[in-house]
Subunit: 224 residues, 2 copies
Amino acid sequence: VVQANEITRVYGEGETAVHALNGCSVGVAHGELTAVMGPSGSGKSTLMHILAGLDRPSSGDVFIEGIDITKLGDNDLTKLRRQHIGFIFQFFNLLPMLTAEENIRLPLDLSGEKPDENWVQEVIKRTGLDDRRTHRPSELSGGQQQRVAIARALASRPTVIFADEPTGNLDSTNSAEILSLLREMVTNYGQTTVMVTHDAHAAAIADRVLFLADGCIVKELRGA
Amino acid sequence: VVQANEITRVYGEGETAVHALNGCSVGVAHGELTAVMGPSGSGKSTLMHILAGLDRPSSGDVFIEGIDITKLGDNDLTKLRRQHIGFIFQFFNLLPMLTAEENIRLPLDLSGEKPDENWVQEVIKRTGLDDRRTHRPSELSGGQQQRVAIARALASRPTVIFADEPTGNLDSTNSAEILSLLREMVTNYGQTTVMVTHDAHAAAIADRVLFLADGCIVKELRGA
Ligand SMILES: Nc1ncnc2c1ncn2[C@@H]1O[C@H](COP(=O)(O)OP(=O)(O)OP(=O)(O)O)[C@@H](O)[C@H]1O
Ligand SMILES: Nc1ncnc2c1ncn2[C@@H]1O[C@H](COP(=O)(O)OP(=O)(O)OP(=O)(O)O)[C@@H](O)[C@H]1O
Ligand SMILES: [Mg+2]
Ligand SMILES: [Mg+2]
């Protein structure tokens, strides 16, 4: 459902140029949970942003549902993202003037589609935010903000979810709850998920684990 | 060196009031590494900010080196913080217009004291930032930003370091490097450190582990 070929991403130029991605090729099959691991600075977030159409590669192609997104204009790209992609940012990107619930509903409102109300309520409860709906991000703990970012991506049941270190700020209990929620979405609803993680428990529930180093995929493990 | 008695912290009032801390008492002995663990939303960051004089409790006292900081005016409190306290924020609080190196040196420049140049260089190298000195936060990966926040607190060798989830965004290798660096500071230089963490490896290197739940310390373990 997602296919990237020979992706490079260079920041700056000349001597000080940083080669964040060096000819990275990735394929993500429908209905699979893929974990991406690798050292800090190895290119994981950069890869995720490019796969999700939030950033453009310096060279290479990215296909989502067969569409070459590197050829799309900004408007079409935005439309495609709204229809197909959910993103859980490493640092949440919540809107500070909206409450937790408003942040969660925002993609639904933007898509103009009628939300599955039961599902939205379920997501709010399972991310443990029932008693924090009316709090603004500044009134939430770090882990609570992270859970709002997670709920926001899950609420609209997108074709593909990209999760950038979704449990980084969570204790083991909340972490396990989020991971089982993500796993269920894949197993029960065929939701395709790509998850960057430093957490071995997260890798353990994946169907496939990709290891990134210095902007390249250096190893791949498939679950038994 | 740090003593807090019957700390409470309430946000808002009446029915919607949130009791982040409920009569929490903590003592931190000189030259010890204390880990603080607990569920997301249990009050860890709130406790850290109050112990470090970055926030005032709704009731209770906090003593740093024998001084009751809850009685200090803002100016004196700021002076005391500059002299004695290093803080690694859960979300870094780096200055976006400064480079990594400028962010790291900022507390040193503010304190007006002559920095130990060898030590500053050592910290930059050991946090793996040698080749990222001139990058601004927006040009750094999440884990690199976290390491800048860590280096900034370590560079001035404060009396007490408060670290709020210092390894949340780091892979296991970088994480281990940071933890051993923090452990050395305590063991070799008698630096007092209080570290909030969700990471069992971090708790494993502590002299003492405090468990927080619903705004109270519910358990304490002392290393064998
Ligand atoms: N300004 C505020 N207004 C209302 N409630 C607040 C405010 N700030 C924090 N809280 C609440 O206080 C509680 C404790 O927050 P705190 O940030 O200390 O938790 P934490 O243990 O650090 O969590 P985490 O592990 O998720 O970082 C949380 O339930 C949070 O919702
Ligand atoms: N705007 C930029 N200018 C220069 N270099 C950049 C820029 N953005 C990112 N980089 C560099 O690209 C590399 C990859 O960054 P990326 O955020 O993808 O790493 P990551 O694997 O997600 O790391 P982490 O695990 O720390 O989040 C890093 O070395 C970073 O310094
Ligand atoms: Mg990243
Ligand atoms: Mg916190």
